[in-house]
């Protein structure tokens, strides 16, 4: 009797399998739901609100032009020092877009992802530079909703 009790106590182990199951489920959830920071989008921008905005189109070929709260123009993690820099980048984008179009692909879309408090002048400069290079497909990133947080 004593021996049997001793045996049971000796071999008692924590059942780890359910815990591992749950942890794996959580892990899979986070892996699938997390979106790693990309160079394209600047996080922590305060976007303007627009209730009539259509859902975000996540075309991989889309060029994202970020404008941060200090009115810096940032493309692919690179800060444009002047409008000439921006013009050069857009000219290169236009050349690529033209080559793609010859292969039957759509034109180069541009998304302006700008902080809501930047002066309109900055956005106008970007739009006019894009228009100069005949890049006409443009959209403004907004947050969906009416009220600003």
């Amino acid at each position: 009797m004593k021996a049997a009790k001793l045996d049971k106590q000796d071999t008692m182990e924590m059942n780890l399998v359910p815990m591992i199951d749950i942890i794996f489920n959580l892990l899979v959830f986070f892996i699938l739901s997390s979106e790693m920071a990309s160079l394209d989008h600047i996080a922590n921008l305060k976007l303007p609100m627009a209730s009539e905005a259509k859902p975000e189109d996540k075309r991989p070929d889309r060029m994202v032009i970020n404008v941060d709260g200090n009115s810096n123009i940032i493309i692919g993690g690179r800060t444009m020092k002047s409008l000439n820099d921006l013009s050069r980048v857009l000219a290169a984008a236009k050349r690529t877009a033209d080559a793609e179009q010859r292969r039957g692909n759509a034109s180069q879309p541009i998304l302006i992802n700008a902080d809501r408090n930047v002066p309109w002048q900055k956005i106008q400069d970007i739009m006019e530079t894009a228009a100069k290079h005949k890049l006409s497909q443009l959209s403004f990133a907004t947050k969906k909703g009416d009220k600003e947080e």
Partner: protein, 156 residues
């Protein structure tokens, strides 16, 4: 020797290192994840040719000007002039809705948003959003005066 053989008879998987690693991964994803608020887009199409001078074509011009209180403060709404009549951001929607109540106006007459360069971007987007809500089909932005391209700039 006997003990070793018994151990080999009952091999056990070492779970502790695996759990350690899985926990590390879990903590990484837990701290690294930030859920994105759904974003949207307002489309606009830029002209590929030259703009035009404001001509005889009927248009609804919405002018946004920085108010005195709004100098250096983007939170303060700009003063608004719609069709040469003073208005405010608060009643701009009602004004646009009234104009858009006529289907022919809504579909044919272009709305031109002309914002002063210092106006905060949010107010231009707000105006564009209100034009969309009023279902105007032609909305465009006036080009800046310092550039050679005259009015009739990008449209949405």
């Amino acid at each position: 020797m006997k003990g070793l053989r018994r151990d080999m008879d009952n091999p056990k998987m070492q779970l502790v290192p695996m759990i350690d690693i899985v926990f590390q991964l879990l903590v990484f994803f837990f701290l690294g994840t930030h859920f994105r608020v759904p974003e949207g887009e307002l489309d606009a199409y830029l002209p590929t040719g030259q703009g035009r001078e404001p001509g005889p074509i009927d248009e609804i011009r919405v002018m946004l000007r920085v108010s005195q209180a709004g100098v250096g403060n983007a939170e303060v709404p700009p003063s608004v002039v719609v069709d040469k009549q003073a208005c405010s951001m608060a009643n701009l929607e009602a004004r646009l809705q009234r104009l858009a109540s006529d289907r022919r106006v809504r579909e044919r007459v272009p709305v031109v948003i002309e914002a002063e360069p210092r106006v905060a971007y949010r107010w231009v987007i707000e105006t564009l959003n209100l034009c969309r809500r009023a279902e105007f089909s032609k909305v465009s932005f006036a080009a800046s005066k310092r550039n050679a391209a005259p009015a009739g700039g990008p449209s949405s």
